[in-house]
Each structure stands twice: as structure tokens, then as C-alpha cells.
């Protein structure tokens, strides 16, 4: 059973992960499908994979039910494990790399309720910060805010490293979405609690920045609801939810297009729908993605794997 599939930064390689404990990387350039690597190291189902920005090399993070996060790296054409993070007490459900401007930072959300942040400090070392009790009985998703410099870009003294405010969103089994912000002392602090869902928050996705002052987050839940949260004020404290749709089944995943104008919503009824905001601010479904027809251009198939 495949649990995640992610393309790299360029859209030329596909990483998948599965119940069979494997992480696989395919070359999908030009509609081809070549298995490049079959990464073994996890001892449980692998839930998510995440590509780091290519400026750091070819790096992939994966998280699993085995409580581990593994960071894989391609060296000389072969993929190898470069780091293993074992700081969680339960299933690690979500991994997400911070915007590349911050350096190599990985956020990991776990069923133990904690979120850990791994920062690469050079020479193979990773520094770990942990937010305990972020979400009681489990964090299901983490998603970084795009890198935005406070104030106008023009005010930034040139040559100086911009002073980013690091933020990310998380969603969990306490039905909450929480926004976290790094304080000046480097500690992570809960900045906001967004309440609207009446069941587990399955996924959160912070929309990419398109140069507008508005921040946007999409969230989906076990309760079948998908909310779009927006925040217009500069302090970032007033978030208002708008119900995109209430589905009949659990909604597992939300994903923004790179230009942040389309949201892909994946539901428990195995349906993927695409949504777009109309001129009057309403969200409309613009298509059902029917796999294997019409718009589908390629498919990668994993063998019939035995999951036992």
C-alpha cells in the first residue's frame, strides 16, 4: 500500500513510500519510469517522504511507523542513509523541510504528540529541538510557512542575511491546527490555535507565497471538512476559516499548486478533486482527477507487494 508519492524540486524524480517498509525513487523524466533506488532501512510502514531543496544535494527524508525518521542522500550516484532520527516514541506521521533559505531544517510530527525539529549543523551533525505535547495523542501533519522577511523587502540592508521569522503549522488528533513560531532565543512557541474541525486534523498545507501579504493555510480532517484559513494582518494573529467543502468521508491530504491557486484534495473515497477560488472568493471544484483517463500522462506501478 503506497502512502505517499512526491516529486523532487524539478519534477523529474518521484519518491514513493509504502507499507512494505520501502522507499523507492523513480526517474520519471519524459514520461519514463526507471527505478533508481529501493531504500531499505525502515522497520515499519513508511508514511511520508520529503525532498530537500537541491541546493543541499539530493536529499530525501522519510518517516515511518517504526518511530524513525531517516534522511537519505545520493552520493556518487548511489543513495544511502545519512542520518537516522530516533527521538520519537510513536509513529512519525509527517516530515516537512523548511524553506531552503533557513538551511536544512526538518520538522517531524509524531503520534507521541511531539514535533521535533532537526537542524543540520554541519559535519554530519544534526541538532534536535523537540516540542513536547504539541498535539495530545498525536500530530498528523506539519507544513512550513513560506520564507517571508518581516517588513518590506526593500528595507532589508543588502548583504546582510535576512532576518526570517520561521513558522510552521501542525495538525493533530486534538482536532486542532497549531501555528508555531521560533522565538529570538531559538525556542519554538505556540503562536496560534486554529479551531474549526470536529475531528482529527489529517493534513495541513501552508500555501506557497505568491508575493501577496495574505497567508493561507488549507486543512482537512477526519470530519470530512476542508477549511481554508487566511490571515491578512501583518502580526499574523487573526486567522479566519472558510469552509471549502464538507465531504462524506475522511479527507486525508491537501496540496497546493506551486502558484498557490489550486488545491488538490484527496479523500477517503479514493477521490481526488481540484479546487480553485473564483473571483468572488468562493471555492469551486474544477475537476475530478480520474486516474487512468484523459489528463493522466504516466503511471508508476509498484509490484504487487505482500504487506505481511
Amino acid at each position: 500500500m503506497i502512502h505517499d508519492a512526491q516529486m523532487d524540486y524539478y519534477g523529474t524524480r518521484l519518491a514513493t513510500c509504502s507499507s512494505d517498509r520501502s522507499v523507492k525513487i523513480f526517474d520519471v523524466r519524459n514520461g519514463g519510469q526507471i527505478l533508481i533506488a529501493d531504500l531499505r532501512g525502515h522497520e515499519g510502514p513508511v508514511w511520508q517522504v520529503a525532498w530537500a531543496h537541491p541546493m543541499y544535494g539530493n536529499i530525501l527524508a522519510s518517516c515511518s511507523y517504526d518511530r524513525k525518521v531517516i534522511i537519505w542522500k545520493e552520493e556518487n550516484g548511489t543513495w544511502e542513509k545519512t542520518h537516522e532520527h530516533t527521538g520519537h516514541d510513536s509513529s512519525v506521521n509527517s516530515v516537512c523541510w523548511a524553506p531552503h533559505d533557513y538551511g536544512l531544517i526538518l520538522a517531524c510530527g509524531s503520534s507521541d504528540g511531539a514535533i521535533s525539529l532537526l537542524t543540520y549543523t554541519g559535519e554530519g551533525q544534526w541538532e534536535v529541538k523537540k516540542i513536547n505535547n504539541a498535539h495530545t495523542i498525536g500530530c498528523n501533519a506539519v507544513s512550513w510557512a513560506p520564507a517571508v522577511v518581516p517588513g518590506s523587502l526593500i528595507d532589508q540592508p543588502s548583504g546582510q542575511k535576512p532576518n526570517y521569522i520561521k513558522k510552521f503549522a501542525s495538525g493533530g488528533c486534538d482536532n486542532l491546527i497549531k501555528l508555531w513560531k521560533e522565538e529570538e532565543d531559538g525556542q519554538w512557541k505556540e503562536e496560534q490555535k486554529l479551531e474549526a474541525h470536529s475531528d482529527w486534523v489529517r493534513d495541513v498545507a501552508w500555501a506557497p507565497s505568491i508575493g501577496l501579504p495574505t497567508s493561507t493555510i488549507a486543512s482537512c480532517s477526519q470530519d470530512g471538512r476542508v477549511f481554508i484559513w487566511t490571515c491578512d494582518d501583518t502580526s499574523g494573529n487573526t486567522w479566519s476559516p472558510k469552509l471549502l467543502h464538507k465531504f462524506n468521508d475522511v479527507v486525508w491530504h491537501v496540496s497546493w499548486s506551486i502558484t498557490a491557486n489550486i488545491l488538490a484534495v484527496s479523500g477517503g473515497d479514493n477521490k481526488v478533486t481540484l479546487w480553485k477560488e473564483s473571483v468572488d472568493g468562493q471555492w469551486v471544484c474544477i475537476s475530478d482527477v480520474n486516474k487512468g483517463q484523459g489528463s493522466v500522462s504516466a503511471s508508476v506501478t509498484e509490484g504487487q507487494q505482500n504487506e505481511q
Binding site: D4, A5, M7, N30, I137, T259, Q304
Partner: protein, 1081 residues
């Protein structure tokens, strides 16, 4: 991990799934007495608040009851979909009574909370269950084999499922089937279970292993499989859970022997049929997979027995257990650390012992310092197997280029039931196209750029314009491509020369009377000298006399002053003319200073040639007139600046209408950057179509500027660069990566553009092995491997060649790979070259990698003088890059270079955009463009909505490459026209040899290449006789070095011929002629 605990000896019931928030109801247990031996009873409701990390549960309401309970369930009956009304709490009492409570009233603190009550049963009611299909149906069981079916809507008279079983026995458990609504099962401590069919009103099967040791304490139906159920035994001699399948009811399907002593309660998870909880007298709470018998989890409990255990219906990871030590605990099976628990214990201790830090040292007392070790113990591991509800079955994620990666796990249920399911594991990559109009317009624009059919394009735009302003803008743009552009601008502003002539004539006719007067006056004046006869030079003291004196002494200056003083303007001017240039100028000035007429300032400007004055100070309502004046009079070198100035003034005006008019001025000025700025201010740029509006204009204007002002327009301003990259981003998001690349401005070091270019190049999947220094817009950071090694530093190597040489065409897809849906297997095999070696011979060699040439802002060129590659300033020393390396230059031409035989052919890019130029070269000519006309590659005319991006194009490439070179030859130019080629080439050579600055040389080089278009047309003999004749005339004038004559003929040809026929080479010819004229060669 323990989440919450409540100190109660009680039966428990979770609120139904629909209910939010989650409540837990507890009712004092009838069987157990707590430590106080208190006989009071109560019904309590707690809220499960998981956002509170403490172990305490928030009590919402307590109701003092006169009953103690054997069983408590919470049904969703009459719950509205919003979950506002909290269902019905159904309790089984000690004396045959069943009581219905309204939980919402309990929570509200109401006194009257009992909905109904019935004591029809005999003995304690130990078994209760709600039908999940018809939530008004409740089954109950008590002593004497009594089973009743209650309708909550008609509670007075229960039904029976059939005749009572004999011998009479206690009913300890009862359960509705989870799949079939009319099937009910009951079980008794004697070990027998009976399955009832309510439609037949009789028992249909009895299940028993005849061991007489099965003392049924628990009964549960399989959540998914209708015929399966489990029975638990509390007999210490047979502490088992039996799994039965009614189809094979002679013996249990499986026996789970995981408990050491009798089992007191079981609960089967509705969320995951592989999770069955059981608790027993061995003080264990186990979670096992009843389908395999494997123990998945053992809850960390204290040593007390639990007599009741329940899954939380709404939160599948949560369960509650009631233990004999008078506590109800809520656990999560997902593991985690038990910080909260420790905290609570510490709190309790501190409240008992008082302040643990009596001396205020900041040091707690020693015993609590130890827990370092216990911390390890407190970490509770999760289930061995991940529960179903965290296994994400479906997902869709966007990636670069508007691709959507989706996967789903479709279960194909075979007839064998749940255990044998096949799953398909597919990941789909789809292209998402949402902006069709945007793409088609972008396509059109590219075609226009290629075919250079700007005039017709502008005309089309004019015709399609919705607003007057839009029409104006396009009209202005169009004029750029026409002769006598200034005149046409004037016309557009409402000043037609012919019209004006007529108007003046008309005006003169109308004022016939005054004309006559003038004539009369003339007659008079003629008459005057003749009448005087003699010429009297008066030197009297009046003004006349003084002037006379001054004139006589040659003092023109004074004479003029005198005339001016006397308001004899005409005299003054005439005298000043005689007095020389300087005096004339002074006099003009003085005249204008004195004169007050309305149009004086205009006249001033015309005479003084001071257009700046007009532009700077005219009333902005007269911007049209000002612009017209500038168009008429301004010298070429100041023309742009003046238009600019006027535009700036208009823009800074508050009036939004005038602001938009500034665009027209900028178009006249050819100032792209300002046009962008002005346009952006006026329009909402976030919409793709309005961005398209802007880009169309910008591209056309740049082309115009290139043609008319013959200047190097490669430099791109900041704002334009931003807009172009926005545009490219949009195109990329729609999957048009090649187009995006083509529109992206080059020659810019702006990081976001360099990054986007890099991303686009690589997205096209162009590895360029062996070619050094791809432009990586970032500093590469090294992430050493976990284990240090000598190679750990900078050891990135070109990618394993195996993948690149992968001969797709010859191998069938690997097993397990399914080409899906509409992906045509033919294209799939055709899209890659058959073998790398093959390509070497067939791709025409290019001298060396060339400068990026991306089309939209470059003249089409067949070849370029090799130019040094521009590096970004912050460029790092070339690091060989691992893997699928982009084409560093973004140059689709260089992607054809033979250096990369192994590259999976750069499909879309090549086949699409720059091809016409490419094809204009020597080799491909005959194949793709038999008519020598810049053809439209197929890939561009249709957006990639279906099919692999580039896949269909692959075919073309294949053809191109598999044709042997020898066959591709060009026709000769007909002899009679050969003279044109030699003349033009000779002229360019002469210009080149005398040109000094590199820019001119470059221009000439370009021209030489672009004239290939002309030669091609000559070869194909597609030019009309008029054009041919005209060209020959030009050639003759070149022979005679009369370039201005040549230019005149040129203008004539252009104005009389079909623009599209000549647009490919005529502008170039003009450039050459102009240069020749300038250089005087």
C-alpha cells in the same frame, strides 16, 4: 499511554461517533463496591479534552441516581446530524429495569433526566446493545433467558426475538450484527451463544464448543464480515477468545489463548477489524488481531483487573478501562511518553507533602530527582502494527510544472473475503491545465514572435478590443511596424495631414471677407510708396526719426529695440533678420515675452524648438496636442525622452484616465519598463489573463523597438523581469515548460529568475553530462555522509551513465510497470533515440555551445559568434553535479549538441520553440520545412493536456534523427538571383571590415544570418516578381553605392508588399543598408 483517569468504580459508555466533543458517561457499578462501601449511586458525564495535557477529566455533570448499573450504553437515537442533541443513555439496572436518560439534560443540570423506564426484565440487566442500522432498536438480556427488543419510539412494549432458549439461563452478552440489521446474537455464562433472525423470529444457529468451560463474558461481531464473531470466556481453565464463523459452526475458526486467567471483557474496534481488546483476571489488557491471533499490544496497566473495556467510537486510538481498584482510565494505543502521568503523580505527592522545596534552594527533594530512569519506563510503545486509520490510502501532491502526483490503493475484493485482497499500487502523474485561454493566447503570441507577423497580430487585437483604450494601445503598437510611424501616430491622435489641409482650405474660404480686406490693404501699401514719389528720410525726434538714425548708423540693435518699444513687431523682426542670427534670436525672445496670444507658447516652442517646455508645462488635458507636437517636430534623439517625460507627467497625475494614457506615450517612446510599471498600476496583475494582456503588449513593443530603433534590447529592467518571471511561472504551472523558458528574460542575474531558469531547464529533463558549470543559482552545500570517508567532501560525480543510456526503444517496460490509459505505446517507444551512437552521426555538429537564445527577445539566428558565457557574479567554482543535470544554458539548440548522446532526447523544448531557426540551417531544412517557411511546431499549437509532456513530439525528433544527413541538401539559388546574394554578402563584408564597435559587428553578423531566410525564399522561388524586382533594384543601388536610394526602394517594397512575405528579411536588409550608409563603405 494513559491519557486520563477518573477515580470511579463504574460502568462506562462513550458518546456516539456523531457527538463532538467526546463525552464519557459513568454509572456506579452494581457489582462492585468501592473502598468506602458507599451505597450511593450516580451517573456522571465527563468530557475528553485532549488539548489539556493533564490526566484529569473534566466533569460536566453529575446526576444522583437511585440505581446502580450493570450495563451502560449510549445510543445515537434522535441525534440530529449536527450532534446537538446528545442521543440516549440506556442503563441496565439491578432489578430488571431499563432506564433511558437524556444526556443533554444531564449536562444541562436538569432534574428531570429520565426519558423512560421499564422493569419488565427479571433480575439484573447485564446485556444491552443498540442496533447500528436502526438506532431506535435496543436489545437487552437478563436472567431466565430473557431477551427483549425495545423500540425507543414505543418503549412500553418490547418484542422478543423468538421463543426463550431452554434451559433458562442468564444472558450475559448481547450484540447486533454489524452487517445485517436483523441478526442478533446472545450469549450466556453457560458457554452457549445463540444467533437470532428477527425476520423469522427464531434462533437460527447455536454456537458452542461443548467444552462446558466457555463461560461467556464477551460477545462481539466482526465489524466487516457478517458471519464471524468472537466469544470470550471468563473461566480460568479456559481463558480464551474463540473466533467463530457461522458457516463452519462446528468448531471455532481460531482460538486466541493470550490470557493466563479468565477474560472479563472484550471490545472489537469498529475502525480497524484487526484490533480486539480483551482484559482479564490476569490483570492484562491486550490488543490482538483476532484474524491472526497475534498480540499486537499490551497496555501498561497496574496490577488490577479490569471488568469493563470500551473503544471510543469517535477517536479510534482511544479506549477506556474500568478496573476493580475504583478507577476508569483512558488510554491511547499510539504510545508516547507518559509525562502527564508523572506530572500528576508529582502533583499529588507535592500536595500531600507540602512544599518539596522548603528551603527555596530551587532543588527539589532527592526522591523526585531520580526519575531519569523511570522516564525510560514511561515511554510507551505503540501498537506493533499500525492501525488502519493512520494508513493513508490516497493522496495527491502538486509538483513543479503543474504536474499532479496521485496514488490510491484500490482494493479489489476477491470472493474469498477480507483476508485475500489484492491491491493495486499505482502512482499517476497528471498534467493539470486550468488556464486554457491563457495558454492559447500565449501560443499565439509565440507564433507571432516566430513568424514576425506583428502587424496582422496587432490588427487582430485592435479588432477584438473591448475598450477604446485597448484599441488605442494596439493601434499605437501596430504603428511601430509601419512606415512613417510618426505620421501614423499623429493620425491616431486625430491629426491627419490631408484632413488638416482641407480644414485650412475651408477656413480660408470662409474668411473670404477679411481676405479681401488684406488685399485692399496690400493695394494701399503698394500705393503708398508710389504716392510719395520721393523718399523722405526723416530724422525727426519721434520714434520714426530715432529708428532712422539708428539704421543710418548701422545700429540694428537699437533700431529693433525702438520698434519693439513702439509695438512695431513686424518691423522689429524684419530689421532683426537683417541684423543677423543673434539679434534675430534675441528679438524672437523679446517678442514672445511681450506677446500674449493664446497660441504664443506653442509658436514659441515651434520657433525655439523647445519641446521640453511644452511637454513640461502644457495642461495635461492637452496631452494629445503635446504628443502630436512632439511627434511632428522632435528630433529622433530627443523624441523618446520627450514622450517619456509626457508619460511620466500623465502618470503622476491623479486622474486615472490620464494615468492610463501614459501608456500610449510610453509606447511612442518605446519605453518598455515604464509601460510595464504604468500598466501594472492600472491593472490587477494577479489574474493570468491580465498578465497575458500585459505580456502581449510588452513583447510586441520590444519587437517594435528592436526593429525601429535598432538598439540592443536585451537588457531587462527589474520590473519587467519580475513580470516576465511571473508569466513564466504561470506557464510552467500549466505545464508549458518550454514556453516558460522561452519567455524568461535572459541576461539577468536576478536570483529568482536564474533559479527559475535552472528549475525549468532541469524540469525538461536535460542532463548535460560533460558540460561544465551549469548555472546553479545557489551555493551548493555539502551534506557529508554519515560515515566519514576520504570522498566525503566534494565528490559529486556525473550521474551513473546506466540510466541515461537506458535504451527505451528496445526494451519492453519492466514487469509491473503499466503504461496507462491513453499513453500510446508507440509514442512510448518512439520517444527515445534507438541508440546513443546513432545520434552522433546524425546530429549536425555545431561549432560549440552557444549563448542562450530563447527567442522572444532575440532575432532568430542560425548561428552565433561564439560568445563567452556569462557567469552570474556569485557563481561558484564549477562543481560537477550529480544527476539529472540540467542544460546549463537553457539553450534548446545546445541541447541538440552531440556531446550528450546519452540524454533522453530533450523532447518538448527542441521540437517546439526555436525550431524554425534551427531548421533554417543547413541540415534539417528539407525535412521539416520544405517550403522554407517558419513552420509552427505541432507541440505549441496544442497545450499538453493529454499525453506525456513531450511524448508525441518525440516522434518528430525520432524522424529527424534517423534521416541520414547526405540526403538533406538545399536547392541552389537560381542563377539570375545569385547576384542578390553576392551583393548583399559583399556589402555586409565591407561593412564588417570598416565597422569598429562590437555592437555594430554583432548586428551585421545577425543580419548576415537572417538573410538566409531571403536566400531560402530565393531557392524556393516563392517571392513575388515585384519583390524580386525591387531587390534587384536595391542590389543595383548598392553597386552604385547609392544607399539612400536603396533605402527608398526598400521602403517602397515594404509598403507595397505583403508584410508576412517580407518580414523575415526586409528589416534586416534595412539595417544593412542603414549601416552601409552610415559607414560610407
Amino acid at each position: 499511554m494513559k491519557l486520563k483517569e477518573v477515580d470511579r468504580t463504574a460502568m462506562q459508555a462513550w458518546s456516539p461517533t456523531q457527538n463532538h466533543p467526546i463525552y464519557l458517561a459513568t454509572g456506579t457499578s452494581a457489582q462492585q463496591l468501592d473502598a468506602t462501601f458507599s451505597t450511593s449511586a450516580s451517573l456522571e458525564i465527563f468530557e475528553l479534552d485532549l488539548s489539556d495535557p493533564s490526566l484529569d477529566m473534566k466533569s460536566c455533570a453529575t446526576f444522583s441516581s437511585s440505581h446502580r448499573y450493570h450495563k451502560l450504553i449510549w445510543g445515537p437515537h434522535k441525534m440530529d446530524p449536527k450532534g446537538n442533541v446528545s442521543g440516549v443513555l440506556i442503563a441496565g439496572g439491578e432489578n430488571g429495569n431499563i432506564i433511558l436518560y437524556d444526556p443533554s439534560k444531564i449536562i444541562a443540570g436538569d432534574k428531570e433526566v429520565v426519558i423512560a423506564q421499564n422493569d419488565k426484565h427479571t433480575g439484573p440487566v447485564r446485556a444491552l446493545d443498540v442496533n447500528i442500522f436502526q438506532t431506535n432498536l435496543v436489545a437487552s438480556g437478563a436472567n431466565e433467558s430473557e431477551i427483549y427488543i425495545w423500540d425507543l419510539n414505543n418503549f412500553a412494549t418490547p418484542m422478543t426475538p423468538g421463543a426463550k432458549t431452554q434451559p433458562p439461563e442468564d444472558i450475559s452478552c448481547i450484540a447486533w450484527n454489524r452487517q445485517v440489521q436483523h441478526i442478533l446474537a446472545s450469549a450466556s455464562p453457560s458457554g452457549r451463544a445463540t444467533v437470532w433472525d428477527l425476520r423469522k423470529n427464531e434462533p437460527i444457529i447455536k454456537v458452542s464448543d461443548h467444552s462446558n468451560r466457555m463461560h461467556c463474558s464477551g460477545l462481539a461481531w466482526h465489524p466487516d464480515v457478517a458471519t464471524q464473531m468472537v466469544l470470550a470466556s471468563e473461566d480460568d481453565r479456559l481463558p480464551v477468545v474463540q473466533m467463530w464463523d457461522l458457516r463452519f459452526a462446528s468448531s471455532p475458526l481460531r482460538v486466541l489463548e493470550n490470557h493466563a486467567r479468565g477474560i472479563l471483557a472484550i471490545a472489537w474496534s469498529m475502525a480497524d477489524p484487526e484490533l480486539l481488546l480483551s482484559c482479564g483476571k490476569d490483570a492484562k489488557i491486550l490488543c490482538s488481531n483476532p484474524n491472526t491471533g497475534e498480540v499486537l499490544y499490551e497496555l501498561p496497566t497496574n496490577t488490577q483487573w479490569c471488568f469493563d473495556i470500551q473503544w471510543c467510537p469517535r477517536n479510534p486510538a482511544v479506549l477506556s478501562a474500568a478496573s476493580f481498584d475504583g478507577r476508569i482510565s483512558v488510554y491511547s494505543i499510539m504510545g508516547g511518553s507518559a509525562d502527564g502521568l508523572r506530572q500528576k503523580q508529582a502533583d499529588k505527592l507535592s500536595s500531600s507533602f507540602g512544599n518539596l522545596d522548603p528551603f527555596g534552594t530551587g532543588q527539589p527533594l532527592p526522591p523526585l530527582q531520580i526519575p531519569q530512569q523511570t522516564a525510560q519506563h514511561n515511554i510507551v510503545l505503540p501498537l506493533k502494527k499500525p492501525p488502519k486509520w493512520i494508513r493513508r490510502p490516497v493522496g495527491a501532491s502538486f509538483s513543479f510544472g503543474g504536474k499532479l502526483v496521485t496514488f490510491e490503493n484500490v482494493k479489489i475484493q476477491s470472493q474469498q473475503g477480507a483476508e485475500q485482497q489484492q491491491q493495486q499500487h499505482h502512482v499517476f502523474i497528471s498534467q493539470v491545465v486550468t488556464e486554457k485561454e491563457f495558454l492559447s493566447r500565449s501560443d499565439q503570441l509565440q507564433q507571432v514572435v516566430q513568424s514576425q507577423g506583428f502587424v496582422s497580430y496587432c490588427q487582430k487585437k485592435i479588432d477584438a478590443s473591448q475598450t477604446e483604450f485597448e484599441k488605442h494601445v494596439w493601434s499605437f503598437l501596430k504603428v511601430n511596424f509601419e512606415d512613417d510611424s510618426r505620421g501614423k501616430y499623429l493620425e491616431l491622435l486625430g491629426y491627419r495631414k490631408e484632413d488638416l489641409g482641407k480644414k485650412i482650405a475651408l477656413a480660408l474660404n470662409k474668411v473670404d471677407g477679411p481676405e479681401v480686406c488684406i488685399k485692399e490693404g496690400k493695394q494701399e501699401s503698394e500705393f503708398l510708396p508710389s504716392a510719395g514719389g520721393t523718399f523722405n528720410i526723416s530724422i525727426s525726434g519721434d520714434i520714426d526719426g530715432l529708428i532712422t538714425q539708428a539704421l543710418l548708423t548701422g545700429n540694428f540693435e537699437s533700431a529693433v529695440d525702438l520698434c519693439l518699444h513702439d509695438n512695431r513687431m513686424a518691423d522689429a523682426i524684419i530689421l532683426a533678420i537683417a541684423g543677423g542670427q543673434e539679434l534675430l534670436a534675441q528679438t524672437q525672445k523679446k517678442y514672445f515675452a511681450k506677446s500674449q496670444s493664446k497660441i504664443t507658447r506653442l509658436i514659441t516652442a515651434v520657433v525655439m524648438k523647445n519641446w521640453k517646455e511644452i511637454v513640461e508645462s502644457c495642461d495635461l488635458k492637452n496631452w494629445r496636442e503635446a504628443l502630436a507636437a512632439v511627434l511632428t517636430y522632435a528630433k529622433p534623439d530627443e523624441f523618446s525622452a520627450l514622450c517619456d517625460l509626457l508619460g511620466t507627467r500623465l502618470e503622476s497625475e491623479g486622474d486615472s484616465l490620464l494615468q492610463t494614457q501614459a501608456c500610449l506615450c510610453y509606447i511612442c517612446a518605446g519605453n518598455v519598463e515604464k509601460l510595464v510599471a504604468c500598466w501594472t498600476k492600472a491593472q490587477d496583475g494577479s489574474n493570468p489573463l491580465s498578465l497575458q494582456d500585459l505580456i502581449e503588449k510588452v513583447v510586441i513593443l520590444r519587437k517594435a523597438v528592436q526593429l525601429t530603433q535598432a538598439m540592443d534590447t536585451n537588457t531587462v529592467g527589474v520590473l519587467l523581469a519580475e513580470k516576465m518571471s511571473q508569466y513564466a511561472n504561470l506557464l510552467a504551472a500549466q505545464g508549458s515548460i518550454a514556453a516558460a523558458l522561452a519567455f524568461l528574460p535572459e541576461n539577468t542575474n536576478q536570483p529568482n529568475i536564474v533559479q527559475l531558469r535552472d528549475r525549468l531547464c532541469r524540469a525538461q529533463g536535460q542532463p548535460v553530462p560533460g558540460q561544465e558549470s551549469p548555472k546553479i543559482p545557489y551555493e551548493r552545500q555539502q551534506l557529508p555522509k554519515g560515515r566519514p570517508g576520504p570522498m566525503a567532501g566534494h565528490t559529486q560525480m556525473p550521474r551513473v551513465p546506466a540510466q541515461q543510456y537506458y535504451p527505451h526503444g528496445e526494451n519492453p517496460p519492466p514487469p509491473g510497470f503499466i503504461m496507462h490509459g491513453n499513453v500510446n505505446p508507440n509514442t512510448a517507444t518512439a520517444q527515445l533515440p534507438t541508440s546513443p551512437g546513432h545520434m552522433h552521426t546524425q546530429v549536425p555538429p555545431y561549432p560549440q555551445p552557444q549563448r542562450p537564445q530563447n527567442g522572444w527577445n532575440d532575432p532568430p539566428a542560425l548561428n552565433r559568434v561564439p560568445k563567452k558565457k556569462k557567469m552570474p557574479e556569485n557563481f561558484m567554482p564549477p562543481v560537477p553535479i550529480t544527476s539529472p543535470i540540467m542544460n546549463p544554458l537553457g539553450d534548446p539548440q545546445s541541447q541538440m549538441l552531440p556531446q550528450q548522446p546519452s540524454a533522453p532526447v530533450p523532447l518538448s523544448s527542441q521540437a517546439s520553440f526555436p525550431q524554425p531557426h534551427l531548421a533554417g540551417g543547413q541540415t534539417f531544412h528539407g525535412i521539416q520545412q520544405p517550403l522554407g517557411q517558419p513552420g509552427m511546431p505541432s507541440s505549441f499549437s496544442k497545450p499538453n493536456i493529454e499525453g506525456a509532456p513531450g511524448a508525441p513530439i518525440g516522434n518528430t525528433i525520432q524522424h529527424v534523427q534517423s534521416l541520414p544527413t547526405e540526403k538533406i541538401t538545399k536547392k541552389p539559388i537560381p542563377d539570375e538571383h545569385l547576384i542578390l546574394k553576392t551583393t548583399f554578402e559583399d556589402l555586409i563584408q565591407r561593412c564588417l571590415s570598416s565597422a569598429t564597435d562590437p555592437q555594430t559587428k554583432r548586428k551585421l553578423d545577425d543580419a548576415s544570418k537572417r538573410l538566409e531566410f531571403l536566400y531560402d525564399k530565393l531557392r524556393e522561388q516563392t517571392l513575388s516578381p515585384t519583390i524580386i524586382n525591387g531587390l534587384h533594384s536595391i542590389a543595383r543601388s548598392i553597386e552604385s553605392r547609392n544607399y539612400s536610394e536603396g533605402l527608398t526602394i526598400h521602403t517602397h517594397i515594404v509598403s507595397t508588399s505583403n508584410f508576412s512575405e517580407t518580414s523575415a528579411f526586409m528589416p534586416v536588409l534595412k539595417v544593412v543598408l542603414t549601416q552601409a550608409n552610415k559607414l560610407g563603405v
